[in-house]
């Protein structure tokens, strides 16, 4: 336990991270940056899991395990996303999200 820090401090950080990630996901153009935003969102959720586990149910471990799962899945997702981005780059020679809008009506 770090002295002087309460659950609210942690939650504030994770909430800020979450909304920064969401905002980045919506407004950034570069696909890599969007991927980073997604990672931010995921990490904010990981923090939430750990904090709630640590502060509310200190004698249990579910939060920790979920965190590990999320980290693993985030790694897999990042590798797939980057593979997609590379393929997109090969086709249209940029990775601007505005140019990737073929999948429509």
């Amino acid at each position: 336990m770090i002295h002087g820090l309460t659950i609210y401090h942690f939650l504030t950080v994770s909430t800020l991270m979450f909304f920064i990630g969401v905002t980045g996901f919506i407004i950034r153009q570069n696909l890599i940056t969007i991927l980073l935003s997604v990672e931010l969102i995921l990490n904010s959720v990981v923090i939430n899991f750990l904090v709630f586990n640590r502060f509310l149910y200190p004698d249990q471990l579910q939060g920790h395990f979920f965190s590990l799962f999320i980290i693993g899945i985030a790694a897999a997702e990042a590798s797939i996303a980057i593979a997609l981005i590379i393929n997109i780059y090969r086709r249209i020679h940029n990775i601007n999200a505005d140019n990737v809008n073929e999948m429509k009506y």
Partner: protein, 638 residues
Amino acid sequence: MTDYSYTLLIPLIPFVVFVITGLFGMKWKPIVSGVMGTAGLAISFVLSLLAGYQYFFASAVESYPTIIPFNWLWLSLTDTLQIQMGVLLDPISVMMLVVVTTISLMVHIYSLGYMKGEKGFERFYAFLSLFTFSMLGLVLSTNIFEMFVFYELVGACSYLLIGFYYEKPSAIAAMKKAFIVTRFADLGFLIGILILSFYTNTFDFEKLTQPGSDIYHNIAGLSFMGISALSWAMGLVFAGAAGKSAMFPFHIWLPDAMEGPTPVSALIHAATMVVAGVFTVARLFPVYYFHTPDVLIFIGYVGGFTSLFAAVIAITQYDIKRILAYSTLSQIGYMMVGLGVSGYGGEAGLGYMAGMFHLFTHAMFKALLFLTAGAIIHAVHSNYMQDMGGLRKYLPITHITFLAAALAISGIPPFAGFFSKDEILAAAYHSNKLLFYTEYITAGITSFYIFRLYFGVFWGKNRKYEHKPHEAPLNMTIPLIFLALASTFVGFIPFHNLISPDLKPFATESEPVLITASVLIGLLGIAGAWVLYKKENDMPEKIANWLGGLYTTTYHKFYIDEIYMFITKKILFNLVARPIAWFDRHIVDGTMMGIGAMTVAVSDKIKRFQSGEMQQYAFVYVAGAILFVLTFLYYFAG
């Protein structure tokens, strides 16, 4: 008790032949089908003669039994509603067996020569077999529903055979006309059957025709539009019979049906199928007589009117087959009159017996007339009297046989038609004077038009033919000679010992005055034709001019066809069908099209939401989620 189960074979053999020749006929030489059909029918013919002999002559009986050697449960719908397929033997069905198989066999033999080399020879024989099967099934029916099934089958065969030359537009039109008119009439028949069986709970002829049975108590007292329900039912059944028998006003299909090959005209449209209506009325005669005498006399009047009407038209026609077609109408009218004026039991049943007798003799001489007409057409390659004349030198056998048939239809003794026609006249004389005079005049007209045909074809002017007409081959003349002998001698069969409404033999006494009168009017008609047509002269033309409009009207068959066309085209199509078609096309279709168009328009508008911009989706999603959370907080957390 004699075992009659072999009678089942009589209709089944032609059916088997039909299936075999219909399926494999095309693979074999055409003549194989012809020989097979003829051989099969010959067996049926022998069996029918055997049945006739055993039934009528083998044992002396007080009254002829009604025998059902075979009755197979076909449809078991409920406990009371059951439909059988079976074989019923009584005097009229046994007589019809003999008639149908005799004429059919003659036509089969004749067609071997007449149809030789025609395209579709095997198809022709397959259809002939199917028709023979259907007709035999019709006369052997044990119940009215089975009869209806065979009614439809013979109608279909008639349709197929009229349209045998399916490359000719007029044949197609004729086949459609025959089918539609008879179908329309059959609708009446079906409704009649339904009413009848709904109230009596049975289809069986045996129960329906049992005199004094109580199955009619359910229907007694019911009426519709002032006419009792049973009269409606029996009247509608007669409508079906009138359609098949081409009674006025359903007669329009029969003259057009002559588009078919001539042997078909002889078999179906002269001797067998067209008397199915007469047979139906005879089969249900006790019902008509005991329960609906009003309908019975109506039948008599329809028959009387048709016979006079058709005979008058026959005078003015030139197509020899059409003359014979109108003559058929006229003679069937005679049979209907016979039934219409008949009583029940003993000597009162004279009309019934005479009607059946006339059916029998008419089948012989009318089939003969048609077959000789076929031989004439075969020789001169034309249907029109104007192209003929002086043929007696070229076609001696045809000439003699035609003369025998013409004398028979004119009612000159000792030819067959004399006996039967005289008995119809006698029956009418004793019960209905109006019908008697109608038929009496018709008898004169009959002999006039048939001898007009005879003199016009075999005497008259000697014309030059491009090809010298030659007598028909042997397989065509043998049936002619056989039928000529039949037309001459079948009149001596003592029909009053064989057929009567109550199945008991009865005695008839001849009335010299009536006989003399009927022979005289026949001779008068012949004399008239002799004067006008024996040698070519301008008298007929003068008379036609003198009659003016009357002649033209008759020549155009009293414009009945035009009236039908007017009613269907102008009234039904314009006033009924067109508005309904408009409603269907604009209102019904319009609603459906409107719904479709609306869906397309809406989807066209909203499809833009799917822009393909991933970040836009994310924005909408997040905005929605935030909105949802805020709403939730506002209402529940406050």
